[in-house]
Point group: D2
Chain length 301, copies 4
């Protein structure tokens, strides 16, 4: 891939494309880790004065000929660590104590929550977190197309994709994203070597990575929110927003999945509603993002 | 099991025990379906005038010698359909349109949401929902011990267990419930032949069932919320309540799981916090209930 | 009023009536404070070992001849302190740090949040909180009728009323409560000398009180949730529950108010919807309870 | 004010300033109504094809010499209707049925919810909504400064201000906004002739308006979220976001108000915590925005 130069910390139509490519082409993208590379060895600590933002994004990539109303299909062919390791920490203000930057936090201070910073070597298909050897299962934490009007910080999920942190955005999966500006403007970053559902501490094993993607476009097919597909399952994704709780996001994802089944698989919406009641798979990315899946074996029956 | 007589629609210390047994014994419990048996053949419809409540409970079972501060361990040995079939419907006021008993509902009426009532034969290990053959995977939707003060309607989850609708409460699993009154007063019912995460329509394939349980007690071990265990995984459960959102319930379940690992597996809480960040499994029962799991292979490493 | 004997810490149909009266009669009720009288002088501290529950309730009062489907109308004629003082404290596990009994709390301990216990003299129409003299404006924090099936702890709000902590439940107001069991079974307690919206610390200035009520019944008029009325305003009340957020409770209260205007004031529901959009008053009791009001001057125009 | 040219539908650092002024100066700003002027007479309907966005913003105004870390103080001196009328409608996809663009909406269609469009003459200090004459009480619905990185659609509230719809942002009030970019870049619009708490239908009486403001700057005083001040009361504002519920927003506003009292009024935070417990005023703007107030008479006692 062409030289990135400065990374982006927003998903924005104002970000200048770093690369242009044609639909159908493959691309290899190198991404910095979510900590902007500040944690490379034991003893390193996140320095939020130097870099207050997380999730530096590579791109945007301009996909020639795509336009508003298309859907971008990003097949993830491979994800490899760039440095043989990742790192993690406790983003203490977030999950450990929801309010430690709020009432409790500013009142109580951060001392009680340990920083939790660790370097995690990756070898032999395992991620080493202290004495725990956890199977390497990499995901792209943040992947998005741009909106024509809004610019989003790269730690937030939304209709554009963004920071979904879903375990399903892994090797072999295809991510469908709405195209809302000419060229789609694909941004990605925040690769995780492994992550549990919910990303409890606010940071997984974050790693600089080399990601191989095949990028296609589906013409004249507009989607409202991201969708995912792998060998066995279709997923619709939604996220919390102002006035939309996690339950609401779950409802939204169910609704988008039902409409997908109706439109592309000719299953009446209320039959789809009944089917999902019995076979849906709900998966949590971070605390704001939910994916609802249906096994493909039930489709085109 | 002894004769049930009338089923219970609350989990309550005021419910008279139907059976007494000793810890370590096995028991076979027959439960009515969540619709109180109103849907037995195509054409039957739920009659909420005759029976406004759902989830009739068998029991309570008095477990001799148990007392406040103990934990009840209920091993699920088998779950079988009693009538070779189950049934489902759309509980339209709930998920199909969250507010159709509220603003939209009373205003718009129920006509737009179909009733969705279907009888679903169960044979050859499959549940037949129209043309879809879905593997039989039964769960106990509602299982609880009693609180000394509160009486809960049987459609609500809570610290007592209640209507959790978790796919993990299945054959082979052990459900741990807090004992808060003498004899524990185990209630159960609302068995599902199969259910997707979230139970979208508000009703799974509901069936009258015969359930075989082995009931043990762990003395002098108090738990705050239900826990689950199967061959591979430990789960802590929590649910939404007044002032506690689904995100809050998820945090609560993570916290309870961390404390479980600390107390019983000698893993420091912050190490457990980090481990769960990487390997947790979040599972959704109904829209109010969440279980957070950890693979047992990481414990006692 | 007759001798209370033991106070109730639930709102329950199982609570034995302490007094029977006829509709149209007045009654004077003495209530203990929310701390069960444990804080009477500086230096006293809440002892949760001795009494883990809050909000002791007086009653239940059996109102002769009332039955399911009626509405109880409780006019508050007066509220006076019994001891010339009240007291307050920080219920630290709740608002000061939402999770201090959860993740942060059990991890961080309670030391960082001060107890905040103070005795507050009431004199000359002022409540003295340290150097602050705050106008005496008493409310009944918890007032309810019983449900035939559920028993609620007295710190929770719900369709039965319960712990609403609304500033509007004050002298001169009428509280309408659903009658769901014979005799209605009115419970009340948790009187506050003064309280801000939201009851931030979890406790207002709590006081033992003498309350004078006139109790009437409206026959064959069922309401789903409590309603309030004073000289200038009608209010519909709703509260958070499992799966119902504060926004949802606000929607529910708006809906109930609209239906009230339609039924009793012959204002078409959509006209009421539009009117409320322009003149509604939303008031917060505690963090779980909301009242939506409409000025009576717009009614019967 | 200088010619606006095209209105802005985002709050964005990329919006070109329309006017530059010095701190201490007054300015008169004309704003279009939230419907972009599409509803001017009975029979007009909102046309979302022509203009899918709401809340056109005037500005941005560049305030010379202001820089990151300052606070902008905007005193509202007057708000007058430009055309002698306003208009309203039901934004049906939002409150009338929360999900009518989601599950229920796409399924049920919009027919059941009336459009509710009305022109509302303003005369003699009254806003005429059908037969109801409601006192004119204008507010600025949307007022903001720009963030250096994020661009927000103008219907959303946030730390930048945005669409708060608070009844307290009226004539005589001062709005404090964080300065995060050079010149602050003040945007405003969405003036309401009158609005109830919560803005139930999603639209108040929306009017094109002439607003007179006095703009000052407080140097080297950074605030996290907007604040308000009028003759009697200080308010801190917060809003829902991804992962932050309305209860959370309320907690955040309480916290910001407490820190304001500690910093500027020398009231210890826990004393402020206790004081607010007794005298706070919680006010709801739209369903996402909350203001928590304290009477100024309690400050500097």
């Amino acid at each position: 891939m062409a030289d990135q130069g400065e990374f982006c910390y927003t998903i924005s139509p104002h970000n200048k494309p770093r690369l242009a490519m044609d639909p159908g082409e493959e691309v290899v993208v190198e991404t910095e880790d979510a900590f902007s590379g500040q944690i490379r060895k034991e003893g390193d600590r996140r320095d939020l004065q130097k870099m207050p933002h997380s999730n530096p994004q590579s791109g945007p990539i301009y996909v020639r000929g795509t336009k508003k109303g298309d859907t971008l299909a990003v097949k993830i062919q491979d994800i490899q660590p760039l440095t043989g390791q990742g790192s993690t920490r406790i983003v203490s203000f977030w999950y450990a104590s929801k309010y430690d930057t709020d009432l409790a936090g500013k009142f109580l201070g951060h001392d009680a929550v340990p920083h939790g910073t660790r370097v995690c070597p990756i070898s032999d298909g395992k991620v080493h977190f202290g004495d725990f050897a956890i199977p390497y299962r990499p995901i792209i934490g943040t992947i998005s197309t741009a909106d024509p009007m809004e610019s989003y910080l790269s730690w937030l999920p939304g209709p554009h994709g963004g920071n979904m942190d879903l375990g399903q955005i892994t090797i072999g999966a295809t991510v469908y994203l709405p195209v809302r500006v000419d060229g789609a403007l694909l941004h990605l970053g925040d690769v995780h070597a492994v992550q549990g559902d919910g990303e409890l501490s606010g940071a997984a094993v974050e790693m600089p990575a080399r990601t191989q993607l095949k990028i296609d476009v589906i013409r004249n097919k507009a989607i409202e929110w991201p969708r995912l597909e792998d060998d066995s399952t279709l997923y619709a994704v939604a996220a919390t927003q102002a006035g939309r709780s996690l339950e609401d996001a779950m409802r939204m994802a169910f609704m988008n999945l039902i409409l997908w089944l109706e439109t592309d698989y000719s299953i009446d919406r209320w039959l789809a509603f009944g089917l999902l009641t019995l076979v849906s798979q709900v998966r949590i990315g971070n605390f704001w993002t939910v994916a609802v899946g249906v096994p493909k074996k039930y489709l085109n029956p």
